[in-house]
């Protein structure tokens, strides 16, 4: 086991990607995730990899598409407005079933917004984001250790299901330093019998997102959704805290969930039984699990750094079992512990 080190969230993602076998990274800089390209620029040449700062986000995501088609483990990263620009490539890769890892360290929006951490891209991440019927597998880590561990996991899932896998963090997580034990290096990468590796001596492989033949697209979309159903069945990740005896349940992911943990300590010290349900995969959303948890509590408070996005998934899946309330802070502001405490107290 490697030594415990203090590492910044963004850099932890970079090192974890390299440990996962990623040797190709293409990006265009944007705050608050610039430590990722800076780290990759330094580290990738040391391990025989390729770092390339593209001329635009569109170019970067297209390079990702090319490297992925060639069978490489490849990553790009950006923050909210940059991820919007990458949606064309994400939709194409989803159509062409090309695996890739895309990191979004969210910042305040809409538009260029500001550079503080935010969670306003939940809809964009979990509903596809680009055009057409598709999903991106979305993982929302809650600390620096998880940023590293789930980056490795994201590469694994992307290859396993030939899907785009997104690490959805925020500026606070990216800028934060915490103790970290680096994950084990991945020794053997999965074979990709579909990749474009030169067709000498075999039938050509075809990677395409355009399907004009009669009925071809219909069949393809059904196939994509069979794959998505498998992911929904097998890959849900979530975490809970203090739910065993809870009367009230906070639901939050990423940085918001950490503020909730602080509020839980304050409320529990005053004898109010409150717990946390933390979705880690946002798509697939832990539907059954949150419904089961909702049956045992009197009321849910969803906390987000947005005007209310994940709360819709909470409402859909848990709303028939108990009331779902919402508290959010937009514009790059953090939820405030006292406000969560006061809101929960108002239920008692």
């Amino acid at each position: 086991m490697s030594e415990k080190i203090l590492m910044k969230g963004n850099e932890a993602i970079g090192e974890a990607a390299i440990l996962a076998g990623c040797r190709h990274y293409f990006a265009y800089p944007i705050t608050p995730q610039n430590e990722i390209p800076a780290y990759m620029a330094k580290r990738l040449p040391q391990v025989g990899g390729t770092f390339l700062q593209a001329e635009s986000e569109l170019a970067a995501v297209s390079m990702v598409m090319g490297a992925s088609a060639g069978g490489a483990r490849v990553m790009t990263s950006s923050s909210s407005p940059g991820i919007s620009l990458k949606q064309e490539g994400i939709s194409y890769m989803s159509g062409a079933q090309l695996p890739a890892v895309i990191v979004n360290m969210m910042r305040g929006g809409p538009g260029l917004g500001n550079i503080a951490g935010a969670q306003g891209d939940y809809f964009q991440a979990t509903r596809g984001g680009g055009n057409g019927d598709y999903h991106v597998l979305v993982i929302a880590p809650g600390n620096v250790q998880e940023l590293a561990d789930y980056t490795v996991k994201a590469f694994e899932l992307a290859d396993k299901y030939r899907i785009v896998c997104m690490i959805l963090g925020d500026g606070y997580l990216g800028q934060m330093s915490e103790p970290l034990i680096l994950p084990e290096a991945v020794k053997e990468l999965p074979a990709k019998d579909w990749a474009l590796t030169g067709a000498k001596g075999r039938d050509p492989h075809i990677i395409a997102s355009l399907r004009l033949a009669d009925g071809a697209l219909v069949g393809h979309v059904y196939d994509l959704y069979k794959n998505y159903a498998e992911i929904e069945k097998n890959e849900v990740i979530y975490d809970t805290q203090n739910l065993e005896d809870a009367d009230y349940m906070l639901v939050a992911y990423g940085t918001s969930s950490r503020v909730c943990k602080k509020a839980i300590r304050v409320l529990r010290a005053e004898g109010i039984k409150v717990g946390l349900f933390r979705p880690v995969t946002l798509w697939p959303f832990p539907k059954k699990e949150i419904a089961e948890a909702a049956k045992k509590v009197k009321k849910i408070l969803t906390v987000e750094m947005s005007m209310g996005q994940m709360v819709q998934d909470v409402q859909i899946n848990a709303g028939k079992y108990c009331d779902v309330d919402f508290y959010g802070e937009p514009g790059g502001m953090l939820p405030v512990v006292e406000k969560i405490v006061q809101r929960v107290k108002s239920y008692v």
Partner: protein
Amino acid sequence: MTKEIIFAGFGGQGVILAGKILCIAAMNEDKFVSHIPSYGAEMRGGTANCSVVIADEEIASPVVEHPDICIVLNKPSMDKFEPRMKEGGILIYNTSLIENKPKRTDIKVYGVDCNKIAAENGSERAANMVALGALVKIVPWLSKVDSFAYALDHAISARNKKFNEVNLAIIKAGNSLPIA
């Protein structure tokens, strides 16, 4: 126990680094730690700060709203953070650059002549190291002074490691002040 700390000062005074060094020293003693810098539209000569949490249990939130401890190296930082401090908190302020005394009477205040002590011990730029030494004298639970050798070794880039010896001496000078 959880201690929520703000290090604040001018950009260039090394407050972000001081926070990082404390984190690594405390981490080396198996405490839970977190560090997050402010990263607004910062610029050289502007104010900078970082939030540090040191705890003996899992850290819920790394973001400090109401600090238990503030280390302020310039006046704008004291103006900004003194009012936010928890009752009973500890304020360490740099008397080399801050003429006014803190206003609050419900906190404990310690004036340290950081720049002067740094200069007397080998580097006028190391006011942040004096403050670190004073901090762990006042709140010894945070970290042993011995852990700072390890912390400097892991926090400082190769290019600046040649200053580790003098920085450690200055931390020890801060730690030997007749306070607390």
